[in-house]
């Protein structure tokens, strides 16, 4: 198992080292009258969108594991939810920072209170609150935070379709299916790299929760003796 994990780490390092070269060599997106400066800013897309995808996956993992903890009282599921919840916040932070860096060049502003941006921010804050409740909520905080995670997961489909329902400044969900063949390769390579990274981080973080449970068990044993 450890060998498989190390293999995954090595693969992720190689993929993230190769990705920037492939991205820089990819053809520019087809935007009429775009200056070279604006076209260069589109390179952020290759990391921004996969980060958002992984954030959604992480929210689903956290929500489903939390539901299992709530309804089936599985401690293992709660530990997985805690790990995934933290990763929603990490990848959400990446999305919320790289997006405005791209927007400054593509839209001319850092931030717009449009449906996609606002709903993503709200979702990120729900999972931030999830972590805070877990950390400072006291007895019963695991079940309270699990309920929050289920609501956070329910938010994901709304965030995804928000760009199609409320047409504002953010591009629709049709951007990825309509990518040119030259852009598809590096884009899906980056998605794969981010999914691999997410899996490795989730395993690492879940191990921390498992060891913490072991520590609690050892403290109980020490008190009994």
């Amino acid at each position: 198992m450890k060998r498989l994990y190390l293999l995954g780490v090595a693969a992720a390092i190689v993929m993230f080292a190769v990705a920037p070269f492939w991205i820089m060599g990819a053809p520019d997106i087809d935007v009429p009258n775009a200056t070279p400066d604006v076209l260069l800013s589109y390179k952020i897309f290759f990391y921004h969108v996969p980060s958002a995808m992984v954030m959604f996956v992480s929210a689903f993992v956290c929500g489903i594991a939390s539901a299992m903890h709530l309804f089936r009282k599985k401690p293992g599921a709660d530990r997985l939810a805690a790990a995934a919840g933290e990763l929603v916040v990490v990848f959400g932070l990446i999305v919320l920072v790289t997006g405005p860096l791209w927007a400054r060049k593509a839209w001319g502003v850092w931030w717009q209170w449009d449906a996609r941006l606002t709903s993503t921010l709200l979702m990120w804050m729900i999972f931030l609150a999830y972590l805070l409740v877990r950390r400072f909520g006291g007895p019963g905080a695991d079940r309270l935070s699990a309920a929050m995670a289920v609501f956070g997961m329910a938010n994901v489909p709304f965030v995804y379709v928000s760009v199609n329902i409320w047409r504002t400044i953010h591009p629709t969900t049709q951007v990825v299916p309509s990518l040119s063949p030259g852009m598809r390769g590096p884009f899906w390579f980056c998605v794969l790299a981010f999914v691999l990274l997410f899996s490795l981080l989730l395993a690492m973080r879940a191990r921390l929760e498992r060891l913490r449970a072991d520590v609690e068990h050892l403290y109980l044993l020490a008190d009994e003796e």
């Binding site: 920037p20 400066d37 604006v38 076209l39 260069l40 800013s41 390179k43 952020i44 990391y47 921004h48 980060s51 990490v90 932070l93 990446i94 920072v97 790289t98 860096l101 791209w102 400054r104 060049k105 990274l197 981080l201 690492m204 973080r205 191990r207 921390l208 060891l211 913490r212 072991d214 520590v215 050892l218 403290y219 044993l221 020490a222 003796e225």
Partner: protein, 113 residues
């Protein structure tokens, strides 16, 4: 690996990244310096309190070149991931140490019982 060594390794990685990102940022900025922004005094003189059509406005030099934004985005992602991995690694180290201490304490008590 001991925790101090881990911290030292991570510090070196973060420091190397900061140096590389800084150098790359300066390199990316260099071509844009001849057309730098006008001094504040000139900008104040040029200010108008009347309506000016957009087409009549003087061209503004771009204060945020794309290269700086792209480097910033990629650098930020790397920084966040490095700090996060380091944070989980540190927490793992602490918990493993706690487990060792508790196990030793329990093993000491066991023969007496």
């Amino acid at each position: 690996m001991k925790r101090a060594s881990r911290v030292a390794v991570m510090s070196v990685v973060v420091a190397a990244w900061v140096v590389c990102a800084g150098a790359a940022g300066r390199a990316a900025q260099a071509p844009s310096t001849p057309g730098a922004a006008a001094p504040a005094g000139q900008a104040a003189q040029g200010a108008s309190d009347q309506f000016v059509p957009v087409k009549a406005l003087p061209a503004q030099p771009e204060e945020w070149p794309a290269s700086r934004l792209v480097l910033g985005a990629y650098g930020f992602i790397w920084a966040v991931l490095i700090v996060y991995v380091w944070s989980v690694w540190r927490r793992l180290g602490k918990v493993e140490e706690e487990i060792r201490t508790l196990s030793a304490r329990l093993a000491e008590k066991a023969p007496r019982a």
